[in-house]
């Protein structure tokens, strides 16, 4: 194709997207050429998935009013209204979640809905769907696709008997088998692979690119992106920040670009720390897997006299989509402890598991005494309070009035706001409930008509305040809060965060905050733990530059660790 030298395979021109007035992408323009490998990196919420959805014609884009800008494939303007159109145009996509059928063999999955058929008379009368499958030809095609990847997987192996890494290869083999695939999107393909498997995959991808297929590689493992890709695109807050050849960027630079230079500038004008001693320190932190002991002890000098309020050892939690694998940390009394990390890596699983909302195991000690897991009541009885990230589902009784919502847990677990004889006959003390609620409405500036308004009628920010009040009423020793500012406006955000700080100062309550917003954690917390793939990547004092947290989030600890051992 002589044309391909001049015309890029795919060209994006000023692509933008708004969801209900909320801008998630603006003016994205770049080109992809045949045989090129492009790394697309960015934090959660930077707009990567929206961009993919646009390029793959996902229905969510069309149903929310389409997108701005133009797409050109081979120089011709295209617009995908459904994934099938994108597939027909030769765009393949390997999603983060496996889309494989567990009871089918590798062959059946690779050729799903593209089976080789035996011709038959019946197919003329009805449709192709009544033709029988040509199993031998199917197996041959599947083997061919698998061997292109340079791995050895039997085409007759059932998916549910495969290790996770194999499944990823089968997914990719399926896209390769599509004869017209020219552009392949890979969304976090190495997230579930072991290091060795990841290496094989990278080699296979390079081979594929040589055969002329363009690849867009999305990963949080920056060292892989750097190793594999020809060009690296960095997305931040819906904008394309960088479009640079991979050779010109270091992983550290990429991390800095992703997290955002502006926030860095406040603390550190230079990208590389000027003090070499600190540099060593950072690497040590990165190297020690479960808890950065050095840093921890250093910063704990100030608070050394305080007892550990919460000690977590080898915690695992089966929370769907937020699996926690092996987490250990300690929280001091009176501390505000932050848990951050990318979505889906398990940060939400930690508080949910400690509170007993999802099946969990490991050891949790509260003020030196063991806490029974998997029993929310046990946690509540030990004076722990929990503000769920699922405000409307777990946090509130939406159809009940505010005073019920605020006093409900206290009534159930501590027997307060009741009168009568315990265990025999008790009634709600409506007056006490209303008074307590009024106190919180005033203190937290909850905008409502009064204690009898239904919780479901309040705005998100005010609902969040009600959730906080509900936790405060319990007079907890330890307060666990998930995503305190999710879905609420800026004004309410500041108030919620200030309330937390104030509550901590006045009552000395230990607070554990889990949030996706790193800046928020850094502004409220004393220390912040970063969770990566179900494990703690490191614990740093909040005063450390954002860039270091960014590196931890992107899984750089593995690279650093292996570099340290060599």
């Amino acid at each position: 194709m002589p044309d391909s030298i001049n015309t890029p395979l795919l060209r994006l021109e000023n692509i933008g997207k708004e969801y209900y007035g909320n801008r998630v992408l603006s003016e994205i323009s770049f080109e992809i050429n045949s045989g090129e490998i492009i790394g697309l990196v960015g934090e959660n919420g930077a707009g990567k998935s929206t961009l993919l959805n646009i390029l793959f014609g996902m229905p969510v884009i069309n149903s929310t009013g389409g997108h701005e800008g133009n797409l050109y494939l081979d120089g011709k303007k295209v617009n995908f209204n459904s994934p099938n159109q994108a597939l027909a145009a030769g765009i393949g996509m390997v999603h983060q979640e496996f889309s494989l059928i567990p009871g089918f063999t590798a062959t059946e999955n690779i050729l799903l809905n593209r089976e080789v058929l035996n011709g038959s008379l019946m197919s003329y009368v009805f449709s192709d769907r009544v033709s029988t499958l040509d199993r031998d030809a199917m197996r041959q095609r599947a083997s061919a696709a698998i061997s292109t990847l340079g791995v050895h997987i039997s085409p007759d192996m059932l998916i549910n008997e495969m290790p996770v890494g194999y499944k990823q290869f089968i997914e990719i083999a399926r896209e390769i088998d599509r004869k017209n695939t020219r552009l392949l999107f890979l969304d976090e393909p190495t997230a579930v692979l072991t290091e060795q498997e990841a290496e094989i995959l990278l080699i296979a991808l390079k081979k594929l690119a040589k055969s002329g297929i363009a690849i867009v590689f999305i990963s949080h493992r920056l060292s892989e992106v750097k190793e594999l890709c020809d060009r690296i695109l960095v997305l931040r807050d819906g904008k394309l920040i960088t479009d640079e050849s991979a050779e010109n960027l270091t992983t550290r630079q990429i991390a800095t670009l992703m997290v955002g230079r502006e926030s860095l500038r406040k603390e550190e004008p230079v990208e590389i720390p000027e003090n070499p001693v600190e540099e060593v320190n950072v690497d040590e932190t990165l190297g020690v897997a479960p808890a950065g002991d050095d840093v921890e002890t250093k910063m704990l000098k100030k608070k050394k006299k305080k007892k550990p309020a919460l000690r977590v050892e080898h915690l695992w939690v089966d929370m769907p989509g937020e699996t926690v694998r092996d987490v250990s940390f300690e929280v001091q009394k009176g501390e505000i402890f932050g848990i951050g990390g990318l979505a889906g890596h398990g940060k939400l699983g930690i508080p949910n598991g400690i509170m007993g909302l999802y099946p969990a195991g490991g050891k949790v000690k509260l003020f030196g005494k063991k806490l029974a897991l998997n029993k929310p009541r046990a946690a509540l009885n030990r004076k722990m309070a929990f503000v769920s990230e699922d405000r409307r589902g777990v946090g509130l009784l939406l159809d009940e009035p505010l005073d019920w919502n605020i006093t409900f847990t206290a009534m159930q677990t501590q027997g307060r706001f009741l009168f009568g004889i315990p265990f025999i006959f008790q009634m709600r003390n409506e007056l006490a409930m209303a008074n307590e609620t009024k106190k919180f409405i005033e203190a937290l500036e909850i905008k409502c008509t009064g204690p009898k308004q239904k919780a479901g009628e309040l705005s998100g920010g005010n609902q969040q305040k009600v959730c906080l009040a509900k936790a405060f009423v319990l007079r907890p020793d330890i307060l666990l809060i998930c995503e305190p500012t999710r879905g609420i406006d800026i004004g309410a955000k500041t108030l919620v965060l200030d309330t937390l700080k104030q509550y901590n100062k006045e009552n000395g309550t230990t607070i554990i905050v889990t949030s996706s917003e790193l800046e928020e954690l850094r502004s409220v917390c004393d220390r912040v733990a970063i969770v990566d793939e179900g494990k703690i990547a490191g614990i740093l004092p909040a005063s450390r530059p954002a860039e270091e947290f960014g590196m931890l989030m992107m899984g750089e600890k593995m690279r650093a660790a292996s570099a340290a051992t060599e």
């Binding site: 059928i101 567990p102 009544v130 099946p359």
Partner: protein, 389 residues
């Protein structure tokens, strides 16, 4: 290891229990072997087709199709018409099928469309849908027939002039399929006697030297059932069958691969409904009478119970399950009343037992299914975590 053993036993617990019960009940009943074989052969011929019609929706992940009674009703409407028109024999049966088919297709599409709106709750939805369509059927048969829908034969109508009688005699087509190729199995001595009475030529005589007594084999019915089995084997190999298996395992994956999920599910239910219509016609030609308002009632329940007893589950069923199930279920039907009578002096106990068993077995199968699915989900979560904790 112990877990594996436990899985094997749990997987076959239901048929095993039935084999054990039968092993005790058969000697207690005192029936001769030839009587039992005769009864079993008759019932296999009578019921297998209905049970086989359940297989395809299970393959498509729609569970046990309680909606097969819709097909049964369609078949019965066909039978009422041929009785009215006085068409007898094989042509009568074929005509009944031809009348029933379009009705079954329409009902199947209707059922499929509703089940597509109730994904994950197909079984209870199709069960209730059966009651709803039963209402429509009763209105049609009880009020419209003889009034708007012409029924001329007064023997079919209630004395008030419209509405079909409760019992319709199917004497015109009674056992026509069963006796189409008359076959008798007996020993050489019995064969001689038989030939003396009936004369040669009109029967296929199978002589087994050690066989005691004589048995009539509904050969033509068995041939049709055999063809149906071949159809299912072939169907599994087709693209459509493959699509159904894919949908049965994971709808969203099948959807993203471009398989038309909803359409395929409707096809599965339509095939099942049409086959249930034929199955009910075969069933009733063997019985010889049509209980206008009751015959279809138990068709779904007993077929499903038989399939489950054969070792099938809500998500997995094979042709073997069908035949093991029909043999075990009906063996119990035959021997339980007699065994009960000989043991306690009451035949009712057997009757009670068989109704109790068929409902109980469905409940057990559903509970087992839920339990198994929970365990699978837990295992999946454990593998996600990656630890051995």
């Amino acid at each position: 290891m112990i877990r594996k053993l436990f899985d094997i036993i749990a997987g076959h617990a239901v048929p095993a229990v039935f084999i054990i019960i039968s092993a005790f009940a058969i000697p207690l009943s005192g029936f001769s072997a030839s009587y039992l074989v005769q009864e079993l052969l008759t019932r296999i011929g009578r019921n297998s087709f209905l049970i086989l019609s359940l297989l395809i929706p299970i393959m498509a992940g729609m569970g046990l199709n309680f909606g097969m009674v819709l097909g049964a009703m369609a078949g019965q409407i066909g039978l009422i018409f041929i009785c009215d028109w006085g068409i007898v024999g094989i042509p009568g049966m074929v005509l009944a099928c031809l009348i029933g088919t379009p009705i079954a297709i329409v009902l199947g599409i209707f059922c499929g469309m509703i089940l597509n709106r109730a994904k994950g709750r197909e079984m209870v939805t199709s069960y209730i849908l059966g009651f709803f369509i039963n209402g429509v059927y009763q209105m049609t048969v009880l009020y419209l027939m003889g009034w708007i829908i012409p029924i001329t034969n007064p023997a079919l109508l209630l004395s008030r002039g419209y509405g079909v009688r409760n019992a319709v005699s199917l004497s015109g087509i009674r056992a026509v399929l069963d006796n189409l190729i008359p076959t008798v199995i007996t020993n050489p001595e019995g064969a001689k006697q038989f030939l003396n009475i009936n004369g040669a030529g009109s029967f296929i005589l199978v002589q087994l030297p050690f066989f005691d007594g004589a048995i009539r084999l509904p050969l033509a019915t068995f041939v049709i059932i055999g063809l149906f089995c071949l159809f299912i084997v072939w169907f599994r190999k087709t693209k459509l069958g493959q699509d159904m298996r894919a949908i049965g395992q994971n709808q969203s994956v099948a959807d993203s691969a471009g398989i038309p999920v909803n359409r395929t599910r409707i096809i599965a239910i339509v095939i099942s409904t049409v086959l249930a219509c034929y199955g009910q016609i075969i069933y009733l030609q063997n019985m010889g009478t049509l209980n206008t308002y009751n015959s279809h009632d138990q068709a779904g329940m007993f077929s499903i119970a038989a399939l489950l007893i054969g070792g099938a589950s809500v998500s997995k069923a094979s042709i073997t399950n069908v035949f093991v199930g029909v043999i075990l279920f009906h063996l119990m039907f035959i021997v339980a009343p007699m065994a009960g009578k000989n043991l306690i002096g009451e035949a009712q106990i057997g009757e009670y037992f068989r109704v109790f068993v068929s409902y109980g077995i469905i409940a057990i199968a559903l509970v087992l299914h839920a339990w198994k699915r929970n365990r699978e989900r837990e295992a999946a979560r454990r593998s996600l975590r990656g630890g051995e904790n």
